[in-house]
């Protein structure tokens, strides 16, 4: 019989590296007991801070958590973001390894990845590749995520909230099968970081809104030419909420939004994109068409996340 260890050296090496990656990752994966049946997973994201999938945490206080070292503790909710389905929990006093994050720039389609979860006392893993990287993806709850990872691997019960790691065990993202109706997906670590920052700071994620409902309309070619527009579509304001930032700025039903921050608007999501890229203290600069005349209107978005 041939010597197996010699003939299979690459395979054995790969296998051993994958197991070590899971070992590394498991040091920062906790089990969260906040729903019936199977517990969900969470990642120790920073010192004393755990991130998980919000839909798997059905309660808000005294949440039992199993730590990687076998200890049990309780966590409190620091905040939830329904739009990205993330929840941030705090644990006090318990020492745990903070997850090692991978460099976002290393992320490519075809990268070997492992999903690591703790659907009980022990850690469990599945293996596959990054099958696609979606740019500018919008969750069904309306959050815009710059990049989302579609995965060719199996996400088992209790894996949501666990980590997606590379072959070295560094965290690439957070697995969540609820983001897209059960399809295996992960939020990249950078996107998680942004949400964690906001949730720790103010308990919710700032979602700027101006209080208008819009629908696409076609502009006549003559108007488009007169205003020097590259597109002949814009957004018609069909309602303005009372007391909203848009009402305060003097926007009326029937106005047509042509541009936001210099970017042409042709679909409602374009307006959402412009809003989400507007910083806290900044105003949204709108070009509004009223009675055939274009005028510039500045609107100070308010924060809907605090409702």
């Amino acid at each position: 019989m041939p010597s197996k260890s010699a003939t299979n050296s690459a395979l054995t090496e790969l296998s051993s590296q994958l197991a070590s990656a899971v070992d590394t990752a498991s040091n920062s994966i906790v089990a969260i007991h906040a729903r019936r049946r199977i517990p969900s997973s969470g990642i120790v994201w920073r010192e004393g801070v755990i991130v998980s999938a919000s839909h798997t945490v059905k309660r808000d206080d005294e949440i039992p958590v199993n730590l990687p070292n076998g200890d049990s503790t309780t966590a409190t909710v620091a905040g939830r973001d329904p739009a990205t389905d993330l929840i941030v929990l705090r644990i006090k006093g318990a020492k745990s390894h903070v997850a090692l994050k991978a460099q976002d720039s290393d992320l490519r389609v075809g990268t070997l990845v492992l999903a690591v979860g703790r659907p009980g006392r022990n850690v469990a893993a599945s293996f596959g590749i990054v099958s696609a990287i979606g740019e500018g993806w919008r969750t069904w709850q309306g959050a815009r995520i710059d990049r989302v990872l579609r995965l060719d691997l199996a996400v088992y019960d209790g894996f949501s909230g666990g980590s997606l790691v590379d072959a070295s065990g560094a965290v690439i993202g957070l697995n969540n099968s609820a983001l897209a109706r059960g399809a295996p997906m992960a939020l990249p670590a950078a996107a998680v970081d942004l949400v964690v920052d906001e949730l720790l700071e103010r308990g919710h994620v700032r979602r700027p809104f101006i209080g208008v409902a819009v629908q696409p309309v076609a502009l006549s070619p003559s108007i488009a030419k007169q205003l020097d527009l590259s597109r002949d579509e814009a957004l018609l304001i069909v309602s303005v909420a009372d007391g909203s930032p848009a009402a305060a700025a003097g926007i009326f039903v029937g106005d047509v939004l042509v541009e936001a921050n210099g970017v042409p608007l042709s679909r409602p999501t374009d307006l959402l994109d412009a809003l989400s890229s507007t910083r806290a203290s900044e105003k949204l600069k709108l070009k509004v068409l009223r009675g055939g005349v274009a005028r510039d209107v500045q609107v100070a978005p308010s924060d809907r996340g605090s409702d």
């Binding site: 197996k4 690459a10 296998s15 197991a19 990656a21 899971v22 022990n122 599945s126 088992y156």
Partner: protein
């Protein structure tokens, strides 16, 4: 960097082929009468084959096949609780797989299932070890759980590690996960069955 990565991928791919060729010589197809069957593992040179008890209907006409030939087989012992059966078919022989101790298994390490799923002969499936479940009373490993795609026909076939050592016998699929009887339990079953016959 790219060249060395590609080199690794090629080496892994070539290792996989070698593993598949090695496993081909250690498995047979198990058929019982008109009923479906499964996969069996050749247990050394003495004409012994181990498979799942649920692949072997009691009283049915048993046959084991490989290389396009079918040979009659007899059931020597059953262990329904562990879903194991030991068959004898004197002219069957092949290399005996080395046993991998379940206590040394690490979640995330590569595992491979070999068998005849859905009538496809000698199919190799790759996955990673998910974990093991232990008996609550004695702490022994009761099942080996793997993230590997199994189908009907994989039953009774080997789950091996990257070095081709036997991790367990694929027995069922639960919540999409492959569930295998640990190799050490299989070995104990065979030893006891043979001891009983010798006595």
């Amino acid at each position: 960097m790219n060249a060395s990565t590609l080199g690794t991928a090629r080496a892994v791919s070539s290792n996989l082929h070698g593993l598949s060729e090695m496993l081909k010589r250690t498995v047979v197809e198990v058929r019982n009468g008109e009923m479906g069957g499964g996969t069996g593992i050749i247990w050394g040179g003495a004409g012994l084959v181990v498979t799942n008890a649920h692949c072997v209907q009691r009283g049915a006409d048993l046959q084991v096949g490989g290389d396009g030939k079918w040979r009659a087989a007899d059931a020597l012992a059953y262990h329904p609780h562990h879903d194991l059966a030991l068959l004898a078919s004197p002219t069957v022989s092949g290399p005996l797989l080395e046993i991998r101790d379940a206590d040394s298994l690490r979640p995330g390490e590569l595992v491979f299932a070999h068998g005849h799923p859905l009538g496809v002969n000698d199919a190799l499936a790759m996955g990673v070890l998910h974990g093991v479940t232990r008996d609550e009373r004695d702490g022994y490993v009761r099942w080996v759980i793997a993230d590997v795609r199994l189908a009907p026909g994989n039953s009774g076939g080997p789950l091996v590690d990257a070095e081709g050592r036997l991790v367990g016998i694929n027995s069922m699929v639960v919540n999409g996960l492959g569930v295998a009887v640990p190799a050490a339990l299989v070995q104990r079953f065979v030893e006891r069955a043979l001891a009983r016959r010798a006595a």
